[in-house]
């Protein structure tokens, strides 16, 4: 499913539609979303370099990891970002997000040792000003894509970092502006959902068209960390996870897909869900305290029940119990009681034998009108 997501991002949106937007979420229990982010980035890079995509470049807004990390990562994947013609540029919001370093340099307290590189297009000194950030992104994107119809991809590393400095509404405004911009082909960003209030996460999910979340495969029992089994489970959660994707389709339906995620030295691997970890599909049958389903044995027993007033085709006349015990029945009953002590029986003694069970008389006949 990860391939499907990357292809959807590559294809972009239709004319007049907003660009597809992917949100990659995780929690501390399984913090593998940065690997997913890197994977999506490398996939899109390969599409762009092999000319399979309509977008001409990627603008990477680096907030939580240095652009140098990305340079090395892409190099390890075989994409040279420094020497070859540029198709990717990073907006460095990591080195000096609030402009403190440049103030110190200006006042002469420290020396500026940063050599800069062609990969890093520009340094953002004020992450709080999102309007400025928006215009810088668009500027870099236009450089990469060329003017006119060229489109580019925007990748935001860690919107969580952005939310540290600004409000949810300004971040949401930035994302919606990017999505509605003509030249943006697609957009994806990273979010650590347990760092923020549910409303903030909900607002950012609202702005996206696809949600990919990384969840732990195995939850530690009882929340006790000291237990050795739980420790190994937790370690496992740092290497493997469940990758759940929710896609908002154009016709208004929501598609959910699941995969297994495994982090190895070479990168991230996605595999279809193994049969052990079954997908718990949402059942619409309400959860009640009594059992609505029948087990196999119960189904068999139900089929065996002899229904009254139904011919059983076995020659015997059906005996309809009318509440009055005859002498014969009495004897057989005593026998049965001795033989089958395990079965439950309802023994009912009628109050009196005077009452006629099946009376053809109309009870209203007694009335004298």
């Amino acid at each position: 499913m990860a391939e499907w997501i990357c292809r959807t991002l590559r294809d972009g949106g239709l004319e007049g539609e907003h660009a597809p937007a992917l949100i990659i979420k995780d929690t501390i229990r399984c913090p593998l979303s940065s690997f997913v982010f890197d994977h999506v980035l490398s996939q899109l890079s390969s599409f762009i370099l092999s000319n399979k995509s309509q977008s001409k470049g990627i603008v990477l807004v680096a907030l939580s990891r240095s652009p140098l990390y990305y340079q090395q990562f892409l190099k390890s994947k075989g994409y040279d970002v420094v020497d070859s013609p540029c198709w990717i540029k990073a907006l460095d919001c990591y080195s000096d997000p609030l402009g403190w370093k440049s103030k110190l340099v200006e006042s002469g307290s420290i020396l500026n040792r940063d050599p800069g590189s062609s990969f890093t297009s520009s340094l953002c000194k004020n992450v709080r000003d999102l309007d400025n950030l928006f215009s810088s992104i668009i500027e870099i994107g236009k450089e990469l894509a060329g003017d006119g119809k060229g489109r580019f991809v925007v990748a935001i590393d860690s919107v969580s970092e952005m939310l540290r400095h600004t409000t949810v509404s300004s971040v949401a405004a930035l994302l919606s502006n990017l999505r509605s911009h003509d030249q943006v082909c697609c957009l994806f960003w990273l979010l650590h959902s347990d760092l923020h209030e549910t409303r903030a996460t909900a607002a950012l999910e609202y702005m996206s068209s696809m949600q990919a979340s990384v969840e732990p495969m195995a939850l530690p029992a009882n929340g006790q960390i000291g237990n050795s089994m739980n420790l190994s489970l937790m370690e496992q959660n740092y290497r493997r996870g469940k990758f759940c994707v929710r896609v908002k389709r154009r016709n208004g339906r929501v598609r959910m897909m699941f995969e297994e995620l495994c982090v190895e030295i070479s990168g991230v691997k996605f595999a279809p869900v193994s049969s052990e970890d079954n997908v718990i599909s949402q059942s619409l049958v309400p959860k009640v305290q009594f059992n609505l389903q029948l087990s196999e044995k119960e189904l068999n027993d139900r089929a065996k029940v002899v229904l009254p007033f139904e011919h059983q085709d076995n020659g015997k006349t059906t005996q309809i119990y009318d509440g009055r015990k005859s002498l014969n029945e009495d004897e057989t009953e005593i026998h049965e009681k001795v033989n089958s002590s395990g079965k439950g029986e309802i023994i009912y003694f009628r109050d009196s034998d005077d009452e006629m069970p099946d009376s053809d008389e109309d009870p209203d006949d007694d009335l004298d009108i």
Binding site: A173, R199, Y206, R250, N251, G252, R253, V254, L284
Partner: protein, 330 residues
């Protein structure tokens, strides 16, 4: 866009609608209604159409003039846009004044997505129906139900109360000319005061006491959308909706507001829901869900679920339609 859908049809899955007609029914003939976009309702109210025939039936005739309709969105599905599109198109076809507000930069662009009136194949369907009737031998006591259907299909497309809309074709341009359409963006407003003033001046054009009733429409999309600066000022939004409700009640218009309830705190969501006269919610359905396919017939064509929570009760204590219904959108 909805390339698979043509008309929005709403199918009712729960108990069938049986309009409870009292034994004293006013004999208002349809022909005496001069204004095409409006219809007389019970208890001295007037209705205007929502643009979807099945929804009008569920509501008991349409949206009551002077009521505030709130639609609870599902953040994962755009069905509220469908309701808004039909609502706005119906208003434009009937030349009713319209205000549309949305958090988008260019709300006028949304007008381009409004559906056009379906070209009615009236003659064909009528001939077919009469043929069918000859084959059917209907008991005399049931003929009274067929009488209603016949009178509906005999109307001309233009003067129909509720039109069928073809979602694949955009609305003809000539409906957009005229000064009675206003599009406002809520994006860059720090608060709702300017919009409030626009609404109140719009609503003063269609006051209750006016003899010549036209019926105005206000459509506000995604009020609590996170892009707007005022989205975290919940009390401001609440007081805006409250005063809009009171303004609408004094006028001959209908205001429809869609909002995503998951993006406001639960207390405010409840308050907004209580403010509504008519409350509807739309919900997405999961794709390729085998369990749902077993439970619901027609699952393949369904795109979403529509639930009716409240229906406007103006001048009455008793509703003649049942509320708490869930229907599916196709």
């Amino acid at each position: 866009m909805f390339d698979e859908m043509r008309i929005v049809k709403i199918y009712i899955h729960m108990a069938a609608i049986r309009p409870r007609s009292s034994s004293f029914s006013r004999s208002t003939s349809v022909a005496s209604n001069a204004v095409p976009g409006l219809k007389h309702g019970p208890n001295g109210t007037m209705f205007l159409s929502s643009g979807i025939q099945d929804l009008d039936k569920i509501l008991g005739g349409g949206f009551t003039l002077g009521s505030l309709v709130m639609v609870m969105e599902d953040p994962e599905a755009p069905h509220h846009m469908l309701l808004l599109r039909n609502f706005m198109s119906q208003g434009l076809v009937h030349h009713q004044p319209l205000i549309y507000a949305s958090p988008a930069k260019d709300p006028r662009g949304f007008l381009g997505t409004l559906p056009s009136v379906m070209v009615s194949k009236d003659d064909k369907s009528r001939a077919h129906e009469s043929e069918q009737e000859k084959g059917l031998r209907i008991a005399w006591q049931y003929k009274k139900y067929f009488g209603e259907q016949n009178s509906d299909s005999q109307r001309d497309g233009k003067s129909e109360y509720c039109c069928d809309f073809d979602l694949r074709k955009p609305l003809e341009r000539h409906f957009f000319t005229g000064k009675h359409i206003d599009c406002i963006t809520l994006k860059d407003s720090a608060d709702l005061t300017t919009f409030h003033d626009r609404c109140s001046s719009f609503l003063s054009q269609t006051p209750r006491t006016d003899g010549n009733v036209i019926g105005g429409r206000i459509a506000i999309q995604s009020l609590c959308s996170p892009q707007c600066e005022f989205s975290d000022k919940e009390w401001d939004m609440l007081s805006f909706v409250r005063s809009l409700k009171s303004l609408v009640r004094l006028s001959n218009s209908v205001a429809i507001i869609t909002f995503p309830p998951s993006l406001v705190s639960p207390a405010f969501s409840k308050r907004l829901q209580h403010l509504a006269d008519t409350l509807v919610s739309v919900k997405a359905i999961p794709d390729e869900d085998k369990e749902l396919a077993k439970l619901l017939t027609g699952y393949q064509d369904m795109v979403g679920l529509l639930s009716m929570h409240k229906v406007a009760r103006i001048n009455t204590q008793v509703l003649n339609v049942s509320s708490d219904l869930t229907s599916s959108l196709k």
